[in-house]
């Protein structure tokens, strides 16, 4: 089967078959990334615009490398250097970019729904590289790819997601994708960071205590805590947060013996993740970053109408 979407806005919109297709393609493209000459001509002549309205190192770089390895031409536009600082609207910026005939716009935006807004109004493909607290589909897919490589499947896995669920687009994409693939999600975090109705988004159990979420988990996904962004009313201190919601070796011992530790990055050492845990054998954080390139290659490839790839 082919991929029928013009855009990838969120994992909520993708079926099990579509997610499997993206994961399978990424698995086969991964091989390119370990070659001496890391380039295939697949997207030669295609133009990818990275339109970033929010700071990002990992995701932007990853998308850029992914596009380049497929031989697409890439242009990066970041909000601070563009006309955005002159007050141009998103729609005007996009239409100007569109006039230069790109094939794909990869966008990150601080406002939830910005991609849906844009995708309805432009003819080229739109890939969501993160919108507000809504979705981050490439992260959700690379998380699933990393889990699938380790366990061979996603169905039946117990995945704990711990931290600021309210403001996390990663949590939402993980919940949608993992639910579609048959995993069970257990979320934990301070009640000030647990949004109403999160359990309705998928196969989600809300845990009062982090230990309940981590207990016998196959995967422990820790979210970055951002005191500066979330405001000081949600937490008394990083110190206390770390005590109740940080992953230290004792906490990790509650999970399955071979449980994976994951984190979308960047990590706060000593806050949500003890340094010893971040660097231990069970940590797949760098593997996630590595898989990110392959997943983004697969996404670019399929929105351009690619058929299942042979690599």
């Amino acid at each position: 089967m082919g991929f029928r979407h013009k855009d990838i806005i969120g994992l909520k919109d993708l079926t099990k078959e579509e997610i499997e297709l993206l994961l399978n393609t990424a698995d086969s493209l991964n091989e390119i990334n370990s070659r001496d000459i890391k380039k295939v001509p697949t997207l030669r002549g295609k133009t990818v615009v990275n339109l970033f309205y929010e700071a990002s190192t990992r995701t932007r770089t990853s998308f850029e490398i992914a596009a380049k390895r497929l031989s697409a031409d890439t242009i990066n536009i970041s909000a601070s250097t563009s006309s955005v600082t002159k007050g141009e609207t998103l729609l005007d910026t996009a239409q100007n970019v569109l006039a230069m005939k790109p094939d794909i716009i990869v966008m990150r935006h601080a406002i939830s729904g910005a991609h849906e807004f844009l995708a309805k109004r432009v003819s080229c493909s739109v890939i969501n590289a993160g919108d507000g607290a809504h979705e981050h589909p490439s992260q959700g897919l690379l998380d699933m790819l990393t889990m699938r490589q380790k366990f061979g499947k996603l169905e039946g896995l117990k995945v704990a997601i711990v931290g600021d669920i309210t403001h996390s687009r990663v949590a939402r994409s993980d919940i949608y994708g993992l639910t579609t693939m048959g995993a069970k999600i257990f979320v934990a975090g301070p009640p000030t960071m647990m949004p109403i109705g999160i359990e309705r988004l998928g196969n989600v159990t809300v845990c009062k205590d982090m230990r309940e979420a981590v207990h016998k988990a196959d995967v422990v996904m820790m979210l970055r805590i951002q005191l500066e962004r979330q405001g000081k009313t949600l937490l008394p201190s990083m110190r206390e947060y770390s005590r109740y919601y940080g992953l230290n070796p004792d906490m990790l011992a509650l999970a399955k013996k071979d449980a994976m530790v994951m984190h979308p990055g960047p990590i706060n050492r000593g806050v949500e993740l003890a340094s010893s845990v971040a660097d231990c054998d069970q940590s797949y954080i760098l593997k996630q970053v590595e898989n990110g390139v392959a997943i983004r290659m697969a996404m670019l490839y399929h929105v351009c109408g690619g058929e299942p790839s042979e690599g």
Binding site: L90, H134, G197
Partner: protein, 424 residues
């Protein structure tokens, strides 16, 4: 020019009339009501057979955007929109540019309305200077210049002490205080109702308690001051409960809700539809049902649209950046008639909600078809089916979540001071 409205089903709760009769209007005044009236010479006759004839509808909460924001709406277009929707009177909120916080602005509105408006325009002045919530506006001047109420609509009066003084002072002047009740610290950066839909969309939520806490404050302040207060656009189950309890113990509180709060829920925001963005936000199904129940049991006194025209540039943007509010004058009547069809209220009750009660709350001599009263009349065709088409709206702005909806019920005629200003 005289007007004879023949054979319509007249419903006028102010006199307990609910029967088929004729109405004769002369010189802009109701001259006679009765069976088989004959038209004197030079009388235009309207056949109202099968139609409902009511005191002219009053929308006590609209934004005409004039002066200063005429690119959204102005007094002429806003009043045309009102006439098309069956309204013979509107009360326009003071958040214009400049704010209507002094008699010069009020006089501008009154004079422009006299020249250009098809319906009665009753200005609402500000409670505080510039609606900044710092010091009281000159309410006496405002009233003398023609304001029928004061409100800082769009913003709450944050200081409880200042709200107390506003209620006390207004009581002395004899002018209605309309509050926009919202605890801004609880609203924060919220852009829609806090709940499962906001969680799914990843949008910051506005919790219901932001409204309830503020409504409770207004009620207690009114009780303490022994002064009346009118609470604008209530949207939550909690507000209904608080106001119901307050009325039961004799607090002089009245309130209004808008058609969108008893018609839609926050699910309308799915897809990030900015025409479903307003303040207060669309709430849960439980809140919507509570609003309906409060309309049925008399807790809510009035239906008002909060008609809030905006330019496409202010709505065709990312959700967080979109302005709050929707146009409502031309969709209010059919949406409200649905309450009758659903059996929640009868037609008499609906006329009270849309005409008699707003007149009483604002203290304007309207909302009645008594002999000698100003001849403001709405003639309703409750069965007329029509589709809401953006281009056909009389309002300058088209920001409505009801575009494309099939409506049932329309104003066949709108009569202001004996003149037919809308005929459909």
């Amino acid at each position: 020019m005289n007007l004879l409205i023949k054979g319509g089903h007249v419903i006028d709760p102010s006199q307990g009339i609910d029967e088929v009769m004729d109405i004769l209007i002369a010189d802009g005044v109701i001259l006679e009501l009765g069976q088989g009236l004959t038209a004197p010479e030079e009388t235009e006759s309207v056949d109202a057979t099968g139609l409902i004839v009511t005191p002219g509808l009053i929308d006590m909460h609209v934004h005409l955007r004039d002066p200063g924001l005429e690119y959204k709406e102005d007094i002429a277009t806003g009043s045309r929109s009102a006439a098309a929707g069956g309204f013979t009177s509107v009360a326009c909120m003071p958040n214009t540019s400049p704010v209507n916080d002094n008699k010069a602005v009020t006089s501008y509105i009154v004079n422009k309305a006299r020249k250009e408006a098809m319906v009665n325009v009753f200005p609402v002045g500000a409670i505080t200077k510039g609606s900044k919530g710092e010091s009281l506006a000159e309410m006496g001047d405002l009233k003398e210049a023609g304001c029928v109420a004061v409100s800082d609509d769009g913003k709450p009066v944050c200081s409880s002490e200042l709200m107390r003084r506003a209620l006390e002072y207004a009581k002395g002047i004899g002018i209605t205080v309309i509050t926009h009740s919202e605890d801004l610290s609880l609203v924060g950066e919220g852009v829609m109702n806090e709940g499962p839909v906001a969680t799914e969309l990843g949008l910051k939520g506005i919790p219901w308690v932001a409204e309830d806490a503020a409504v409770a404050r207004e009620v207690y302040l009114a009780e303490f001051c022994g002064a009346p207060v009118h609470i604008a656009h209530i949207s939550t189950a909690g507000s209904c409960r608080i106001i119901r309890n307050a009325k039961a113990r004799g607090v002089k509180v009245t309130c209004e809700t808008a058609p969108h709060y008893f018609t839609l829920t926050d699910e309308a925001v799915l897809g990030y539809d900015t025409n479903a963005k307003m303040n207060p936000p669309l709430r849960s199904a439980a809140d919507r049902d509570a609003i309906k129940a409060a309309l049925a049991d008399g807790t809510i006194d009035a239906i008002a649209t909060d008609h809030a025209p905006h330019h496409p540039d202010e709505k065709d943007v990312e959700f967080n950046l979109a302005y709050n509010g929707i146009v409502g004058l031309e969709t209010s009547l059919p949406l409200s008639l649905k309450l009758v069809e659903e059996g929640l209220v009868d037609m008499k009750k609906l006329v009270s909600l849309m005409s008699c009660n707003p007149a009483k709350i604002l203290g304007v001599e309207r909302g009645t078809l008594k002999c000698g009263a100003v001849a403001d009349v709405t003639i309703i065709d409750p069965n007329r089916k029509w589709e809401v088409v953006a281009e056909k709206l009389e309002s300058k702005s088209k920001n409505s979540p009801f575009i494309g909806w099939e409506m049932k019920g329309a104003a066949a005629y709108t009569v202001v001071k004996g003149q037919v200003v809308n005929k459909k």
